[in-house]
Homo-oligomer: 169 residues x 2
Amino acid sequence: MAVNPVKPGPRVTDLDLFKFMPFRLNRLAAEVSTALATEYADRYGLDIPGWRILATLGFHGDACTAQYIARCTRTHKSTISRAVTMLLGRGLIERLENAEDRREFRLRLTDDGRALYRALIPPLLRREAEILSCLTERERIDFAIALSKIERHLDLVQDLGSKPPADAG
Amino acid sequence: MAVNPVKPGPRVTDLDLFKFMPFRLNRLAAEVSTALATEYADRYGLDIPGWRILATLGFHGDACTAQYIARCTRTHKSTISRAVTMLLGRGLIERLENAEDRREFRLRLTDDGRALYRALIPPLLRREAEILSCLTERERIDFAIALSKIERHLDLVQDLGSKPPADAG
DNA sequence: CTAAGATAGTTTTATATGCAACTATCTAAA
DNA sequence: TTTAGATAGTTGCATATAAAACTATCTTAG
């Protein structure tokens, strides 16, 4: 039986960084964050953790613990702690003691906090829409579905009884 | 003409953080980075900027300037500079003076650097495949296409004559 | 009741990184 | 030439944040 003639072909041992999903996701996430920062950072002096707390409290209705926010946004608890201090200082949230467990505090938006949350939503949704405007409606839906699948696959969905978070911007 | 009866309906003024693309991208990118870090960080003491330089030099063939790497990976030049120093110190890359422009240096992998690059590719591609294994082939292709469109839309593609980078992990 | 361990949240520490200032070199225009 | 401005790369500084140590409280086992 003859030996195959040497023919290199495409090297399986090469890796194109620009087709490598982890790199692309990082780069895209960073760019999108920068694009949104104008809305909440430049305009209102909020950072990402602060915005996440506001959004969680605003959407969830009310009265979450810091722990809960840390878990479901997958943000490190020390990061949440500092952001909570900042939001308290600016009067955007308030802390309610819990008589049943005095280690934890329920957090909720103040009127000012809710007003800021409401004010932020339209421009943020507009930015998001802008970013996704290069996709058709069909593509947007499929993209969201694919993301959901990956999120579930990586156990990223907020199931509340979850593992400790690894922080991210 | 009669006034419409008050009927709340779904509030356009609400924002579900978990359906908000910027948040999802950030969270996913962070998780994927953490998942990959085992390969290059834990095992070889490389960080993301270091890995990006290695990958760029390895794939591109040879002899890029730091500026080029910074631009096309969209990593801040000071971050690249520090990572270059680290890689030089570990003997993974070498610096070639350019007689025509003595401000810049061409960078290229040493044999050790190339060996490390080659060693890293299979496990990294395996991890990537693992992460995307929850999608069908069709979905993977569509996902990549959608990403490409967004990247182009946000002007993230490496066109070399590009704007200065906003750094990211 | 007491002790051991778990949990919520805070603070300290170390590190990573963006920004801006800086050096050295190149280019272009007077 | 000389000078002004651009560019490659480095470094100092400030900030952000993950990890770990710490405090206070709760729970459970003896």
